[in-house]
Symmetry: C3
Subunit: 204 residues, 3 copies
Amino acid sequence: MENLLYWIGLAAVAVSAVTGVLDAGRKRMDLVGVAMVGMATALGGGTVRDVLLDRPVFWISNQTYLLVAFATTVLVFFVVRGLKLPQRLFLIPDAIGLALFAITGTQIALDLNAPWLVASLLGVTTGVVGGVLRDVLCNEVPLIFVPGEPYASAAWGGALTLIGLQALGVSPVIAAWSGMAVVLTLRLIGVVFAIRLPTYSERK
Amino acid sequence: MENLLYWIGLAAVAVSAVTGVLDAGRKRMDLVGVAMVGMATALGGGTVRDVLLDRPVFWISNQTYLLVAFATTVLVFFVVRGLKLPQRLFLIPDAIGLALFAITGTQIALDLNAPWLVASLLGVTTGVVGGVLRDVLCNEVPLIFVPGEPYASAAWGGALTLIGLQALGVSPVIAAWSGMAVVLTLRLIGVVFAIRLPTYSERK
Amino acid sequence: MENLLYWIGLAAVAVSAVTGVLDAGRKRMDLVGVAMVGMATALGGGTVRDVLLDRPVFWISNQTYLLVAFATTVLVFFVVRGLKLPQRLFLIPDAIGLALFAITGTQIALDLNAPWLVASLLGVTTGVVGGVLRDVLCNEVPLIFVPGEPYASAAWGGALTLIGLQALGVSPVIAAWSGMAVVLTLRLIGVVFAIRLPTYSERK
């Protein structure tokens, strides 16, 4: 499980860096600006998780994360700048990053004996912070606030799945994969079918 | 005093969550978006205070805060969505939250032996961060930057009152209530009478 | 070296406070709003550095920084409000603050045995965060994202100079001054000659 968490963490960093580069690139930033956004997206969620839990920040205690984020950012920058990609394509790596980070965040909080509600919300936080940073830095409305499309709720559903399955005695590894599948499914169904959650004021 | 701080903290969380819901609701966010803004407003100031002071984050070590923030958010969401409330009404819970958080922040810093200037500024920070997060997430100019209306200065006045009275030997409980009264009075007088502080460039 | 770092830190705080006041003043904020922006600019970068490295926050453990930031802010507010200064003038204190903070951030991380890539990025972070906070609070595009002008890359060049010279056996004090000179030179050359880094999409 320890090992699985490590690889999920590296994958989450890489895939989030990709979304950062795609988003920043649309804004005509230069290489360094794009790199800053890519690294902030890749490292933001886990950093907030570690600061809140008062554990060593993951990319400071292990340089590998930083190298992965950096290499991904530079590579994607040079590969993608020539291509014309459909704008909504970046929702797919974004959904994967959300799923991976939500599960690592929840599991790490559980390992530190956080109660279930705290652990699930730390999972949501870990999942969403990178993307919020990216969108704020790129001056866009964060995906999390697009009305009606499940985003934080998809992450929360996955976190609760992980916690619930472990409470039922399912092996942590299977619970983790199931949790990620739930996040991805909820998020992508929401994007594709434009499912709507209740809003504050009815639109009449 | 310990006990008073705990109840003030819970009240501050609840009342800040209300302002978050009212503000986010105006932006036609859905339930989850509103909940995120409500929780960020309720928990943001205290979280920054705890991270700066390197003490355990309050809502992670005690789940009650989280439950209060969550329940308040959902309750207010469903109660208020039908009503048409005057927009400036939310300045009242906002002022109460500012007062409560400023006093808990200052007192907690004093308990950790922070010098008076540091303690008073941590009080101001605890008071204002939740509201700044709320306004940034809702894409509005933070109340703290509305020119001329006392906001941070009201919080600072209350923090200095608390510190001053304790230095004069007044009981901590009375000092705390006096501090809160000062914040509320300064803030509401400012709002009602539109008192103006000096600005950078004179408007001729 | 310990001593040099302390004085560099104080100078960085003062000079960053100046840029905050100049920027906030253009927005017709009142004294308290300007003071908040000034203090956030002066203390933001070092605060993030200390939280990431899990060391005590510098302005909480030593009140002097706070007094310097506060006094500079109020002083500059009253001196400058009468003058008409050219808008780009504030790029000079901003470049100096960037250089000073980048070097202290890198050196402090090295002293805590961070590997070189982590240390250099913490230097960049320390250098840029204050200015990003300032620009976000003043609702401007952060200087770091002005396409083509070296900013983060200037800070990174200086951090790598510091690390490289020390690895070559140069005395820490000389390495620190050289690093600062590199940041300043890269940044000011970039501003004056409008050097351009490669951007994502070619402008045809």
